[in-house]
Symmetry: C2
Protein backbone atom coordinates (compact mmCIF):
# COMPACT_ATOMS: atom_id res chain seq x y z
CA UNK A 1 0.00 0.00 0.00
CA UNK A 2 3.07 2.25 -0.06
CA UNK A 3 2.21 3.72 -3.47
CA UNK A 4 -1.32 4.56 -2.48
CA UNK A 5 -0.72 6.61 0.65
CA UNK A 6 1.79 9.16 1.88
CA UNK A 7 2.78 9.91 5.47
CA UNK A 8 2.56 13.36 7.02
CA UNK A 9 3.20 14.78 10.47
CA UNK A 10 -0.05 16.45 11.44
CA UNK A 11 -1.54 18.24 14.42
CA UNK A 12 -4.34 16.27 16.02
CA UNK A 13 -6.75 18.28 18.16
CA UNK A 14 -9.21 16.59 20.50
CA UNK A 15 -10.57 16.80 24.03
CA UNK A 16 -7.09 16.00 25.36
CA UNK A 17 -5.54 18.98 23.57
CA UNK A 18 -3.11 19.17 20.67
CA UNK A 19 -0.50 16.64 19.68
CA UNK A 20 1.78 16.01 16.73
CA UNK A 21 1.11 12.58 15.24
CA UNK A 22 2.09 10.65 12.11
CA UNK A 23 -0.81 10.13 9.73
CA UNK A 24 -1.31 8.71 6.23
CA UNK A 25 -3.20 10.43 3.44
CA UNK A 26 -4.46 9.05 0.11
CA UNK A 27 -2.22 9.94 -2.82
CA UNK A 28 -3.46 11.97 -5.79
CA UNK A 29 -1.32 11.14 -8.80
CA UNK A 30 -1.39 12.78 -12.25
CA UNK A 31 -1.56 10.08 -14.91
CA UNK A 32 -1.49 10.89 -18.63
CA UNK A 33 -2.93 8.53 -21.22
CA UNK A 34 -1.46 8.68 -24.73
CA UNK A 35 -3.41 6.73 -27.37
CA UNK A 36 -1.61 6.14 -30.68
CA UNK A 37 0.67 9.14 -30.07
CA UNK A 38 -2.18 11.50 -29.14
CA UNK A 39 -2.16 12.88 -25.60
CA UNK A 40 -5.70 12.20 -24.55
CA UNK A 41 -6.24 13.01 -20.90
CA UNK A 42 -4.54 13.48 -17.55
CA UNK A 43 -6.44 11.74 -14.78
CA UNK A 44 -5.80 12.39 -11.11
CA UNK A 45 -5.85 8.96 -9.57
CA UNK A 46 -4.49 6.53 -7.02
CA UNK A 47 -1.19 5.19 -8.45
CA UNK A 48 -2.06 1.51 -8.46
CA UNK A 49 -3.32 -0.73 -11.27
CA UNK A 50 -2.52 2.02 -13.76
CA UNK A 51 -2.64 -0.27 -16.80
CA UNK A 52 -6.11 -1.37 -15.82
CA UNK A 53 -7.18 2.24 -15.34
CA UNK A 54 -5.91 3.23 -18.79
CA UNK A 55 -7.60 0.34 -20.58
CA UNK A 56 -10.82 0.68 -18.57
CA UNK A 57 -10.96 4.41 -19.29
CA UNK A 58 -10.39 3.90 -23.03
CA UNK A 59 -13.03 1.20 -23.09
CA UNK A 60 -15.56 3.30 -21.13
CA UNK A 61 -15.04 6.16 -23.56
CA UNK A 62 -15.62 3.86 -26.52
CA UNK A 63 -12.05 4.27 -27.80
CA UNK A 64 -11.19 0.57 -27.46
CA UNK A 65 -13.75 -2.15 -28.10
CA UNK A 66 -11.81 -5.29 -27.22
CA UNK A 67 -8.44 -6.66 -26.17
CA UNK A 68 -7.57 -7.73 -29.72
CA UNK A 69 -7.28 -4.10 -30.77
CA UNK A 70 -4.46 -3.40 -28.30
CA UNK A 71 -1.02 -3.80 -29.83
CA UNK A 72 1.16 -2.58 -26.97
CA UNK A 73 0.89 -0.92 -23.56
CA UNK A 74 3.97 0.93 -22.28
CA UNK A 75 3.63 2.16 -18.72
CA UNK A 76 6.07 4.60 -17.13
CA UNK A 77 4.70 4.62 -13.62
CA UNK A 78 7.36 6.96 -12.27
CA UNK A 79 6.57 9.74 -14.74
CA UNK A 80 2.87 8.87 -14.72
CA UNK A 81 2.47 8.22 -18.43
CA UNK A 82 1.04 5.29 -20.35
CA UNK A 83 1.25 4.82 -24.11
CA UNK A 84 -1.40 2.58 -25.61
CA UNK A 85 -0.93 1.54 -29.22
CA UNK A 86 -3.78 -0.04 -31.15
CA UNK A 87 -3.98 -2.02 -34.36
CA UNK A 88 -6.05 0.66 -36.00
CA UNK A 89 -3.95 3.76 -35.21
CA UNK A 90 -7.01 5.55 -33.89
CA UNK A 91 -7.69 9.06 -35.03
CA UNK A 92 -9.59 10.52 -32.11
CA UNK A 93 -12.07 13.25 -32.90
CA UNK A 94 -10.73 15.83 -30.45
CA UNK A 95 -13.80 18.02 -30.69
CA UNK A 96 -16.13 15.14 -29.83
CA UNK A 97 -13.81 13.99 -27.06
CA UNK A 98 -13.65 17.53 -25.72
CA UNK A 99 -17.43 17.72 -25.54
CA UNK A 100 -17.67 14.38 -23.82
CA UNK A 101 -14.82 14.59 -21.40
CA UNK A 102 -14.79 18.10 -20.11
CA UNK A 103 -17.97 17.36 -18.28
CA UNK A 104 -16.70 14.24 -16.53
CA UNK A 105 -16.31 13.57 -12.86
CA UNK A 106 -18.07 14.42 -9.68
CA UNK A 107 -21.03 16.41 -10.88
CA UNK A 108 -19.19 17.07 -14.12
CA UNK A 109 -20.63 14.09 -15.93
CA UNK A 110 -20.33 13.05 -19.54
CA UNK A 111 -22.71 14.58 -22.01
CA UNK A 112 -24.12 11.19 -22.99
CA UNK A 113 -27.71 12.17 -22.21
CA UNK A 114 -27.89 14.31 -25.31
CA UNK A 115 -25.64 12.27 -27.51
CA UNK A 116 -25.67 8.96 -29.28
CA UNK A 117 -24.44 7.05 -26.24
CA UNK A 118 -27.73 6.29 -24.56
CA UNK A 119 -29.78 5.80 -27.68
CA UNK A 120 -27.21 3.36 -29.06
CA UNK A 121 -26.84 1.55 -25.77
CA UNK A 122 -28.64 -1.82 -25.77
CA UNK A 123 -30.85 -2.75 -22.82
CA UNK A 124 -29.46 -5.24 -20.33
CA UNK A 125 -31.70 -8.27 -20.88
CA UNK A 126 -30.19 -10.56 -18.22
CA UNK A 127 -32.70 -12.62 -16.23
CA UNK A 128 -30.28 -12.80 -13.29
CA UNK A 129 -31.76 -12.51 -9.80
CA UNK A 130 -30.33 -11.82 -6.36
CA UNK A 131 -31.81 -12.26 -2.90
CA UNK A 132 -31.95 -9.48 -0.34
CA UNK A 133 -29.78 -11.65 1.91
CA UNK A 134 -27.12 -11.92 -0.81
CA UNK A 135 -27.12 -8.13 -1.31
CA UNK A 136 -26.53 -7.51 2.40
CA UNK A 137 -23.74 -10.13 2.53
CA UNK A 138 -21.97 -8.71 -0.54
CA UNK A 139 -22.00 -5.14 0.76
CA UNK A 140 -20.74 -6.29 4.14
CA UNK A 141 -17.84 -8.17 2.53
CA UNK A 142 -17.16 -5.12 0.30
CA UNK A 143 -16.77 -2.85 3.29
CA UNK A 144 -14.35 -5.24 4.97
CA UNK A 145 -12.18 -5.33 1.86
CA UNK A 146 -11.81 -1.58 1.33
CA UNK A 147 -8.25 -1.32 2.62
CA UNK A 148 -7.04 2.14 1.67
CA UNK A 149 -10.30 3.70 2.73
CA UNK A 150 -9.87 2.31 6.19
CA UNK A 151 -6.36 3.77 6.37
CA UNK A 152 -7.10 7.20 4.95
CA UNK A 153 -10.83 7.79 4.60
CA UNK A 154 -10.02 9.28 1.24
CA UNK A 155 -10.71 6.78 -1.53
CA UNK A 156 -13.54 5.09 -3.36
CA UNK A 157 -13.83 1.37 -3.98
CA UNK A 158 -15.54 -0.71 -6.61
CA UNK A 159 -16.03 -4.48 -6.81
CA UNK A 160 -17.10 -7.02 -9.39
CA UNK A 161 -19.20 -9.79 -7.84
CA UNK A 162 -21.48 -12.66 -8.54
CA UNK A 163 -24.33 -13.41 -6.15
CA UNK A 164 -22.05 -15.56 -3.97
CA UNK A 165 -19.13 -13.23 -3.39
CA UNK A 166 -16.63 -10.62 -4.50
CA UNK A 167 -14.45 -11.52 -7.49
CA UNK A 168 -12.30 -8.39 -7.76
CA UNK A 169 -11.84 -5.08 -5.93
CA UNK A 170 -10.31 -1.78 -7.07
CA UNK A 171 -9.67 1.44 -5.21
CA UNK A 172 -9.09 4.98 -6.38
CA UNK A 173 -9.57 8.56 -5.21
CA UNK A 174 -12.09 8.85 -8.07
CA UNK A 175 -15.25 6.78 -8.11
CA UNK A 176 -15.14 6.62 -11.92
CA UNK A 177 -11.52 5.49 -11.90
CA UNK A 178 -12.20 2.67 -9.44
CA UNK A 179 -14.87 1.25 -11.77
CA UNK A 180 -12.69 1.73 -14.85
CA UNK A 181 -9.88 -0.22 -13.12
CA UNK A 182 -12.26 -3.15 -12.69
CA UNK A 183 -13.29 -3.13 -16.35
CA UNK A 184 -9.71 -2.65 -17.56
CA UNK A 185 -8.60 -5.72 -15.60
CA UNK A 186 -11.57 -7.68 -16.97
CA UNK A 187 -10.65 -6.80 -20.55
CA UNK A 188 -6.95 -7.61 -20.18
CA UNK A 189 -7.61 -10.90 -18.34
CA UNK A 190 -10.61 -11.98 -20.46
CA UNK A 191 -12.89 -12.01 -17.43
CA UNK A 192 -16.55 -11.82 -18.48
CA UNK A 193 -18.81 -9.21 -16.93
CA UNK A 194 -22.21 -10.52 -18.03
CA UNK A 195 -24.48 -11.83 -15.30
CA UNK A 196 -22.39 -10.04 -12.71
CA UNK A 197 -22.81 -7.24 -10.19
CA UNK A 198 -20.91 -4.01 -9.51
CA UNK A 199 -20.70 -2.48 -6.04
CA UNK A 200 -19.52 1.12 -5.73
CA UNK A 201 -18.73 3.09 -2.59
CA UNK A 202 -19.80 6.29 -4.30
CA UNK A 203 -22.96 8.02 -5.39
CA UNK A 204 -24.62 6.57 -8.46
CA UNK A 205 -24.78 9.21 -11.19
CA UNK A 206 -25.83 8.73 -14.80
CA UNK A 207 -22.27 8.16 -16.01
CA UNK A 208 -21.80 5.27 -13.61
CA UNK A 209 -25.02 3.61 -14.80
CA UNK A 210 -23.89 3.99 -18.42
CA UNK A 211 -20.49 2.39 -17.68
CA UNK A 212 -22.30 -0.57 -16.09
CA UNK A 213 -24.81 -1.01 -18.91
CA UNK A 214 -22.01 -0.91 -21.51
CA UNK A 215 -20.62 -4.06 -19.89
CA UNK A 216 -24.05 -5.69 -19.86
CA UNK A 217 -24.13 -5.75 -16.06
CA UNK A 218 -27.67 -6.06 -14.68
CA UNK A 219 -27.22 -5.00 -11.03
CA UNK A 220 -25.54 -1.97 -9.40
CA UNK A 221 -25.25 -1.67 -5.60
CA UNK A 222 -24.15 1.18 -3.35
CA UNK A 223 -24.41 2.29 0.23
CA UNK A 224 -24.88 5.79 -1.22
CA UNK A 225 -27.62 7.63 -3.10
CA UNK A 226 -28.49 7.76 -6.80
CA UNK A 227 -29.36 10.87 -8.83
CA UNK A 228 -32.62 11.20 -10.74
CA UNK A 229 -30.84 10.84 -14.11
CA UNK A 230 -29.22 7.64 -12.86
CA UNK A 231 -32.65 6.27 -11.91
CA UNK A 232 -34.19 7.28 -15.26
CA UNK A 233 -31.27 5.85 -17.21
CA UNK A 234 -31.23 2.59 -15.22
CA UNK A 235 -34.97 2.22 -15.90
CA UNK A 236 -34.54 2.70 -19.63
CA UNK A 237 -31.49 0.40 -19.84
CA UNK A 238 -32.94 -2.38 -17.69
CA UNK A 239 -30.40 -2.07 -14.87
CA UNK A 240 -31.45 -2.88 -11.28
CA UNK A 241 -30.28 0.09 -9.24
CA UNK A 242 -30.01 -0.48 -5.48
CA UNK A 243 -28.92 2.29 -3.11
CA UNK A 244 -28.58 2.97 0.60
CA UNK A 245 -27.59 -0.62 1.33
CA UNK A 246 -26.90 -0.22 5.03
CA UNK A 247 -27.08 -3.05 7.48
CA UNK A 248 -30.24 -4.94 6.56
CA UNK A 249 -31.98 -2.17 4.62
CA UNK A 250 -31.89 -1.06 1.02
CA UNK A 251 -33.76 1.00 -1.56
CA UNK A 252 -34.46 -0.63 -4.93
CA UNK A 253 -35.00 2.14 -7.49
CA UNK A 254 -35.48 0.19 -10.72
CA UNK A 255 -36.21 -3.33 -12.00
CA UNK A 256 -37.03 -4.68 -8.56
CA UNK A 257 -38.12 -8.01 -10.07
CA UNK A 258 -34.46 -9.07 -9.89
CA UNK A 259 -34.54 -8.89 -6.08
CA UNK A 260 -36.09 -11.95 -4.49
CA UNK A 261 -37.30 -12.21 -0.92
CA UNK A 262 -34.93 -14.91 0.28
Amino acid sequence: MTDEVKGFTILRVNEQGKSEVEDVVAREFPFTIILDNQELVTLLCTPKDLKYLAIGFLSSEGLIENKGEIRKITLDDRRGVVRVETEGDKEVDRELLFKRLITSGCGRGAAFYSAADTTNQARVESQMKISAREVFALVKEFQLRSQVYRATGGVHSAALCDTKGILMVAEDIGRHNAIDKIFGECMLKDIPTDERIIITSGRMSSEIVLKIAKRNIPILLSKSAPTDLAVDLAASLGVTLIGFVRGRRMNVYTDGWRVTGE
Copy 2:
Protein backbone atom coordinates in the same frame (compact mmCIF):
# COMPACT_ATOMS: atom_id res chain seq x y z
CA MET B 1 -36.53 22.53 -2.83
CA THR B 2 -38.73 21.31 -5.71
CA ASP B 3 -36.07 21.94 -8.37
CA GLU B 4 -33.40 20.11 -6.48
CA VAL B 5 -35.09 16.76 -5.93
CA LYS B 6 -37.39 14.45 -7.86
CA GLY B 7 -39.87 11.95 -6.43
CA PHE B 8 -39.85 8.26 -7.32
CA THR B 9 -41.83 5.24 -6.20
CA ILE B 10 -39.24 2.80 -4.96
CA LEU B 11 -39.11 -0.61 -3.32
CA ARG B 12 -37.83 -0.44 0.24
CA VAL B 13 -36.47 -3.69 1.64
CA ASN B 14 -35.81 -4.13 5.34
CA GLU B 15 -36.35 -6.57 8.19
CA GLN B 16 -40.10 -6.11 7.83
CA GLY B 17 -40.04 -7.19 4.18
CA LYS B 18 -40.66 -5.24 0.98
CA SER B 19 -42.86 -2.20 0.52
CA GLU B 20 -43.46 0.39 -2.16
CA VAL B 21 -42.76 3.87 -0.81
CA GLU B 22 -42.40 7.39 -2.19
CA ASP B 23 -38.85 8.69 -2.02
CA VAL B 24 -36.95 11.75 -3.24
CA VAL B 25 -33.67 11.68 -5.14
CA ALA B 26 -31.21 14.50 -5.89
CA ARG B 27 -31.53 15.87 -9.41
CA GLU B 28 -28.66 15.76 -11.90
CA PHE B 29 -29.18 18.54 -14.43
CA PRO B 30 -27.15 19.22 -17.60
CA PHE B 31 -26.16 22.88 -17.68
CA THR B 32 -24.27 24.41 -20.60
CA ILE B 33 -22.17 27.55 -20.23
CA ILE B 34 -21.69 29.72 -23.32
CA LEU B 35 -19.06 32.45 -22.97
CA ASP B 36 -19.07 35.16 -25.66
CA ASN B 37 -20.81 32.80 -28.12
CA GLN B 38 -18.43 29.90 -27.47
CA GLU B 39 -19.95 26.74 -25.99
CA LEU B 40 -17.55 26.07 -23.17
CA VAL B 41 -18.73 23.22 -21.00
CA THR B 42 -21.73 21.19 -19.91
CA LEU B 43 -21.77 20.63 -16.17
CA LEU B 44 -24.00 18.10 -14.47
CA CYS B 45 -25.29 19.94 -11.46
CA THR B 46 -28.13 20.63 -9.05
CA PRO B 47 -30.47 23.09 -10.83
CA LYS B 48 -30.35 25.88 -8.26
CA ASP B 49 -28.28 29.09 -8.18
CA LEU B 50 -27.27 28.47 -11.79
CA LYS B 51 -26.07 32.03 -12.39
CA TYR B 52 -23.79 31.75 -9.41
CA LEU B 53 -22.50 28.41 -10.67
CA ALA B 54 -21.72 29.84 -14.11
CA ILE B 55 -19.89 32.88 -12.77
CA GLY B 56 -18.08 30.88 -10.09
CA PHE B 57 -16.96 28.32 -12.66
CA LEU B 58 -15.70 30.98 -15.07
CA SER B 59 -13.88 32.72 -12.26
CA SER B 60 -12.31 29.49 -10.95
CA GLU B 61 -11.07 28.69 -14.45
CA GLY B 62 -9.52 32.16 -14.76
CA LEU B 63 -11.88 33.18 -17.58
CA ILE B 64 -13.43 36.07 -15.63
CA GLU B 65 -11.39 38.18 -13.23
CA ASN B 66 -14.01 40.50 -11.78
CA LYS B 67 -17.65 41.56 -11.95
CA GLY B 68 -16.84 44.63 -14.07
CA GLU B 69 -15.95 42.40 -17.01
CA ILE B 70 -19.44 40.89 -17.18
CA ARG B 71 -21.71 42.71 -19.63
CA LYS B 72 -24.77 40.43 -19.53
CA ILE B 73 -25.92 37.09 -18.15
CA THR B 74 -28.86 35.42 -19.90
CA LEU B 75 -30.10 32.30 -18.12
CA ASP B 76 -32.55 29.85 -19.68
CA ASP B 77 -33.08 27.57 -16.74
CA ARG B 78 -35.60 25.38 -18.53
CA ARG B 79 -33.24 24.46 -21.36
CA GLY B 80 -30.25 24.51 -19.02
CA VAL B 81 -28.20 27.11 -20.87
CA VAL B 82 -26.54 30.31 -19.72
CA ARG B 83 -24.98 32.90 -22.01
CA VAL B 84 -22.34 35.10 -20.38
CA GLU B 85 -21.16 38.10 -22.36
CA THR B 86 -18.04 39.98 -21.33
CA GLU B 87 -16.64 43.38 -22.16
CA GLY B 88 -13.61 41.85 -23.76
CA ASP B 89 -15.26 39.30 -26.07
CA LYS B 90 -12.99 36.58 -24.75
CA GLU B 91 -11.21 34.32 -27.17
CA VAL B 92 -10.79 31.15 -25.20
CA ASP B 93 -7.82 28.99 -26.09
CA ARG B 94 -9.72 25.74 -26.64
CA GLU B 95 -6.61 23.60 -26.56
CA LEU B 96 -5.54 24.99 -23.20
CA LEU B 97 -9.07 24.70 -21.86
CA PHE B 98 -9.25 21.14 -23.14
CA LYS B 99 -6.06 20.23 -21.30
CA ARG B 100 -7.25 21.84 -18.10
CA LEU B 101 -10.83 20.74 -18.00
CA ILE B 102 -10.87 17.19 -19.19
CA THR B 103 -9.16 16.22 -16.03
CA SER B 104 -11.62 17.90 -13.70
CA GLY B 105 -13.90 16.38 -11.15
CA CYS B 106 -13.81 13.55 -8.71
CA GLY B 107 -10.34 12.17 -9.17
CA ARG B 108 -10.19 13.84 -12.58
CA GLY B 109 -8.60 17.04 -11.32
CA ALA B 110 -7.29 20.00 -13.24
CA ALA B 111 -3.80 19.86 -14.62
CA PHE B 112 -2.68 22.78 -12.51
CA TYR B 113 0.18 20.88 -10.92
CA SER B 114 2.19 20.98 -14.12
CA ALA B 115 1.01 24.30 -15.43
CA ALA B 116 1.34 27.95 -14.61
CA ASP B 117 -1.54 27.90 -12.15
CA THR B 118 0.33 27.00 -8.99
CA THR B 119 3.51 28.85 -9.75
CA ASN B 120 1.55 32.04 -10.48
CA GLN B 121 -0.68 31.63 -7.45
CA ALA B 122 0.28 34.00 -4.62
CA ARG B 123 0.55 32.65 -1.08
CA VAL B 124 -2.28 33.45 1.31
CA GLU B 125 -0.62 35.78 3.80
CA SER B 126 -3.60 36.33 6.12
CA GLN B 127 -2.77 36.40 9.84
CA MET B 128 -6.33 35.27 10.69
CA LYS B 129 -6.69 32.74 13.51
CA ILE B 130 -9.49 30.45 14.66
CA SER B 131 -9.98 28.53 17.88
CA ALA B 132 -10.65 24.80 18.01
CA ARG B 133 -13.97 25.61 19.68
CA GLU B 134 -14.98 27.85 16.76
CA VAL B 135 -14.07 25.12 14.24
CA PHE B 136 -16.29 22.60 16.00
CA ALA B 137 -19.18 25.07 16.24
CA LEU B 138 -18.95 26.02 12.55
CA VAL B 139 -18.96 22.42 11.34
CA LYS B 140 -21.90 21.59 13.60
CA GLU B 141 -23.90 24.52 12.22
CA PHE B 142 -22.87 23.51 8.68
CA GLN B 143 -24.30 20.04 9.11
CA LEU B 144 -27.60 21.38 10.41
CA ARG B 145 -27.94 23.62 7.36
CA SER B 146 -27.33 21.00 4.67
CA GLN B 147 -30.97 20.62 3.64
CA VAL B 148 -30.93 18.64 0.40
CA TYR B 149 -28.40 16.22 1.79
CA ARG B 150 -30.70 15.41 4.64
CA ALA B 151 -33.54 14.76 2.17
CA THR B 152 -31.62 12.71 -0.38
CA GLY B 153 -28.16 11.80 0.89
CA GLY B 154 -26.96 12.71 -2.58
CA VAL B 155 -25.44 16.18 -2.58
CA HIS B 156 -22.42 18.11 -1.40
CA SER B 157 -22.51 21.38 0.50
CA ALA B 158 -20.12 24.28 0.83
CA ALA B 159 -20.24 27.30 3.11
CA LEU B 160 -18.50 30.65 3.44
CA CYS B 161 -17.95 31.60 7.08
CA ASP B 162 -16.16 33.89 9.40
CA THR B 163 -15.01 32.63 12.79
CA LYS B 164 -18.38 33.47 14.35
CA GLY B 165 -20.78 31.77 11.95
CA ILE B 166 -21.91 30.77 8.48
CA LEU B 167 -22.48 33.59 5.99
CA MET B 168 -23.64 31.62 2.95
CA VAL B 169 -24.37 27.99 2.00
CA ALA B 170 -24.55 26.29 -1.42
CA GLU B 171 -25.45 22.74 -2.37
CA ASP B 172 -24.76 20.69 -5.48
CA ILE B 173 -24.31 17.09 -6.56
CA GLY B 174 -20.71 18.09 -7.37
CA ARG B 175 -18.33 19.22 -4.64
CA HIS B 176 -16.59 21.57 -7.09
CA ASN B 177 -19.90 23.07 -8.18
CA ALA B 178 -21.01 23.79 -4.61
CA ILE B 179 -17.83 25.80 -4.00
CA ASP B 180 -18.10 27.58 -7.36
CA LYS B 181 -21.68 28.61 -6.47
CA ILE B 182 -20.38 30.31 -3.34
CA PHE B 183 -17.70 32.22 -5.21
CA GLY B 184 -20.09 33.17 -8.03
CA GLU B 185 -22.51 34.66 -5.53
CA CYS B 186 -19.65 36.51 -3.82
CA MET B 187 -18.52 38.03 -7.12
CA LEU B 188 -22.02 39.11 -8.22
CA LYS B 189 -22.91 40.54 -4.81
CA ASP B 190 -19.50 42.12 -4.08
CA ILE B 191 -19.03 39.99 -0.98
CA PRO B 192 -15.36 39.83 0.01
CA THR B 193 -13.74 36.45 0.62
CA ASP B 194 -10.50 37.56 2.31
CA GLU B 195 -10.13 36.64 5.98
CA ARG B 196 -12.88 34.06 5.61
CA ILE B 197 -13.27 30.30 5.84
CA ILE B 198 -14.67 27.67 3.48
CA ILE B 199 -16.28 24.46 4.74
CA THR B 200 -16.82 21.62 2.28
CA SER B 201 -18.70 18.37 2.80
CA GLY B 202 -16.39 16.61 0.35
CA ARG B 203 -12.86 15.35 0.18
CA MET B 204 -10.19 17.99 -0.18
CA SER B 205 -8.26 17.44 -3.40
CA SER B 206 -5.67 19.72 -4.97
CA GLU B 207 -8.24 21.49 -7.17
CA ILE B 208 -10.30 22.49 -4.15
CA VAL B 209 -7.26 23.95 -2.39
CA LEU B 210 -6.39 25.92 -5.51
CA LYS B 211 -9.93 27.35 -5.77
CA ILE B 212 -9.67 28.49 -2.13
CA ALA B 213 -6.22 30.05 -2.48
CA LYS B 214 -7.33 31.94 -5.61
CA ARG B 215 -9.85 33.75 -3.41
CA ASN B 216 -7.21 34.46 -0.77
CA ILE B 217 -9.01 32.29 1.79
CA PRO B 218 -6.72 31.14 4.60
CA ILE B 219 -8.70 28.26 6.14
CA LEU B 220 -10.41 25.19 4.63
CA LEU B 221 -12.47 22.80 6.79
CA SER B 222 -14.02 19.40 6.05
CA LYS B 223 -15.34 16.39 7.87
CA SER B 224 -13.65 14.36 5.11
CA ALA B 225 -10.07 13.53 4.16
CA PRO B 226 -7.49 15.42 2.10
CA THR B 227 -5.22 13.97 -0.59
CA ASP B 228 -1.44 14.24 -0.45
CA LEU B 229 -1.38 16.79 -3.31
CA ALA B 230 -3.93 18.89 -1.42
CA VAL B 231 -1.69 18.84 1.67
CA ASP B 232 1.44 19.71 -0.35
CA LEU B 233 -0.35 22.48 -2.21
CA ALA B 234 -1.91 23.94 0.96
CA ALA B 235 1.54 23.98 2.56
CA SER B 236 3.09 25.83 -0.36
CA LEU B 237 0.19 28.31 -0.65
CA GLY B 238 -0.11 29.04 3.07
CA VAL B 239 -3.61 27.58 3.50
CA THR B 240 -4.60 25.99 6.82
CA LEU B 241 -6.09 22.62 5.85
CA ILE B 242 -8.24 20.94 8.50
CA GLY B 243 -9.87 17.54 7.89
CA PHE B 244 -11.85 14.91 9.75
CA VAL B 245 -13.67 17.53 11.83
CA ARG B 246 -16.01 15.18 13.67
CA GLY B 247 -17.53 15.99 17.01
CA ARG B 248 -14.71 17.50 19.03
CA ARG B 249 -11.79 16.11 17.02
CA MET B 250 -9.92 17.34 13.99
CA ASN B 251 -6.70 16.86 12.03
CA VAL B 252 -4.74 19.98 11.12
CA TYR B 253 -2.55 19.17 8.12
CA THR B 254 -0.90 22.51 7.37
CA ASP B 255 -0.26 25.94 8.94
CA GLY B 256 -1.49 24.88 12.35
CA TRP B 257 -0.36 28.22 13.84
CA ARG B 258 -3.77 29.60 12.78
CA VAL B 259 -5.53 27.22 15.18
CA THR B 260 -5.51 28.48 18.76
CA GLY B 261 -6.25 26.40 21.81
CA GLU B 262 -9.34 28.25 23.02
